[in-house]
Amino acid sequence: MDISKRQFLQQLGVVTAGATLIPLADASLRLKPWRREGSDTHRYAMLIDLRRCIGCQSCTVSCTIENQTPQGAFRTTVSQYQVKLADRNEVTNVLLPRLCNHCDDPPCVPVCPVQATFQRKDGIVVIDNNRCVGCAYCVQACPYDARFINHTTQTADKCTFCAHRLEAGLLPACVESCVGGARIIGDLQDPKSTINTLLAAHRGEIKVLKPENKTQPHVFYLGLDDAFISPLQGRAQPALWQEVEICHA
């Protein structure tokens, strides 16, 4: 052996200390999170046309297959409600696809203690799960239940608008599989994009969830009743069905 254990450990110490300082040198002095990676020539957003959603959960299934989330953990789901007026007998369904809102002012980003979660220049909020410490602070800070701890990676997990697919020129799995074509993803920086055209055409009817949180969500809903904009606890009867609790060792 041409290197003694002592020398090896000394060098390892120097390399480790050096590697630790690299991010410090890169960071310079910043006092708030900044957008990195991705291209600032795009700003991705999603419009969900609820009039076209049939609640088939294709998006839920295709997302779990594409992103291999653990059993019982979902990056997107479709909540379902039955609604009626007190003095009428007719019942109707309200379907509400839920996912990360890729907010312009995402509350999950500034709380991350190690800058593992960040917003890309194209607006997509992502997590570097090699850096994430799994403190779940972002899970608490997200107003949309969009984040969870992935018990396979033991790090935070969430929808990324399938950034890996967008970069390859493909649509996100949920958009691709949507039976009714309810999910429309597009680039707000492109004035001719379908999403911009639809947003302009339905200007007065576009809603976002929990606008009172001032997070500037970039998942827009078309056909959403005002009753569903704010939290439902106390205004709605709780679920008839819920996910069976899964114990993770």
Binding site: V83, P107, P110, Q115, Q140, A227, A236, Q237, L240
Partner: protein, 340 residues
């Protein structure tokens, strides 16, 4: 217009991700920080009980200050990555301030504790202790501030989103500490009486802040009142905490006039510690059961394993073990010093 009846048919509840480890951390770190503050006060004031008071507070600060960070690291799902806090400093988030204050606090308390017990041999360092005490108190303030604010800035959980939160955490931790000190120093009657008076004031402060928080015209106040009206689990916690507070106040008021036997002091200490712990459990675990959007609550069942009951028993067990080890080490050291 007719009322809309909404029934939630399909919804996914959110998991509880801040586990009982976090409750244990907030319990122990609050008490440790308050103990350091009182020990510092004792160091700077001259009183017949100052030295013994400082000794007791330092003992509590050290044992709780070692237990707390161990509980905290267990709450990280990627414990081995704790060094990322230092590799990517993030001053705009409250949480990483803990990575600065916690080690500083533990080192300062440890150093102070050693200097205090070796003061016979290290006379020349004794004047330094006042400044070390001050430095420790500053890190303790940092800990109280960061632990309070890291939770109370989370707007997505309106229950937590209040300046009342850090104050309630501080007052309840101080209350638990005062009861611990009273228990240890129960033989010093005049001191116990004085501590009981401070306890009454602390409990009244706790009640005043809680009432202002509950009745305040804030997002958090509305959320608290909504949980009360809906009769959720949070309401049960509120009732339990109020009952514990009432008994604690009655005992503290009694202790300002009468001398209680040790058994009563012990029971009241346990009650106040339970009050302090239950408040944290109710806010942290109970707070996470409140859904952010769904009608369905995020149910929580305490698991029996390391993420549940074992975490609670284990951290208390660790604290008791530390107290025994530290006490035995100090006794051994005192004997060695006395025998030259």
């Amino acid at each position: 217009m007719s009322r809309l009846i909404i029934e939630e048919v399909v919804a996914l509840p959110q998991d509880i991700t801040w586990l009982p480890w976090a409750v244990q951390y907030f319990f122990f770190i609050g008490i440790a920080a308050c103990a350091a503050l009182l020990a510092c006060t004792a160091r700077w004031l001259t009183h017949q009980h100052s030295e013994r008071f400082e000794r007791v507070c330092l003992f509590i600060a050290l044992t709780c200050g070692v237990t707390a960070p161990l509980a905290l690291t267990a709450d990280l799902h990627q414990t081995a990555r704790f060094w990322h806090f230092y590799a990517w400093p993030t001053p705009w988030s409250w949480m990483p301030w803990g990575a600065l204050f916690l080690p500083l606090f533990t080192v300062c308390v440890g150093l102070w504790f050693v200097l205090f017990h070796l003061r016979v041999k290290t006379d020349r360092f004794t004047p330094l202790m006042r400044w070390l005490a001050l430095a420790t108190a500053l890190t303790a303030v940092g800990l109280l501030l960061y632990t309070g604010r890291e939770v109370s800035v989370v707007r997505a959980r309106p229950l937590w989103f209040s300046y009342g939160y850090p104050l309630v955490m501080f007052a309840s931790a101080m209350s638990a500490l005062l009861s611990f000190v009273s228990l240890v120093m129960h033989k010093q009657r005049d001191l116990v009486r004085m501590l009981a008076k401070v306890q009454v004031m602390t409990l009244l402060l706790l009640a005043a802040v809680t009432l202002a928080w509950f009745f305040g015209d804030t997002l958090s106040g509305h959320a608290l009142r909504q949980q009360w009206q809906l009769g959720t689990e949070i309401r049960l916690y509120m009732l339990a905490v109020t009952a514990l507070w009432g008994v604690a106040l009655a005992v503290a008021l009694g202790a300002t006039r009468y001398r209680f036997p040790l058994s009563v002091t012990l029971v009241s200490t346990l009650l106040i510690a339970t009050l302090c712990w239950t408040l944290r459990w109710a806010l942290l675990i109970g707070g996470q059961t409140v859904p952010k959007y769904n009608a369905l609550i995020n149910a929580y069942h305490l698991p029996m394993g390391t993420d549940g009951l074992l975490a609670i028993i284990g951290t208390f067990g660790l604290w008791f073990s530390l107290m025994i080890i530290v006490r035995e080490c100090v006794n051994w050291l005192s004997r060695r010093l006395q025998n030259g």
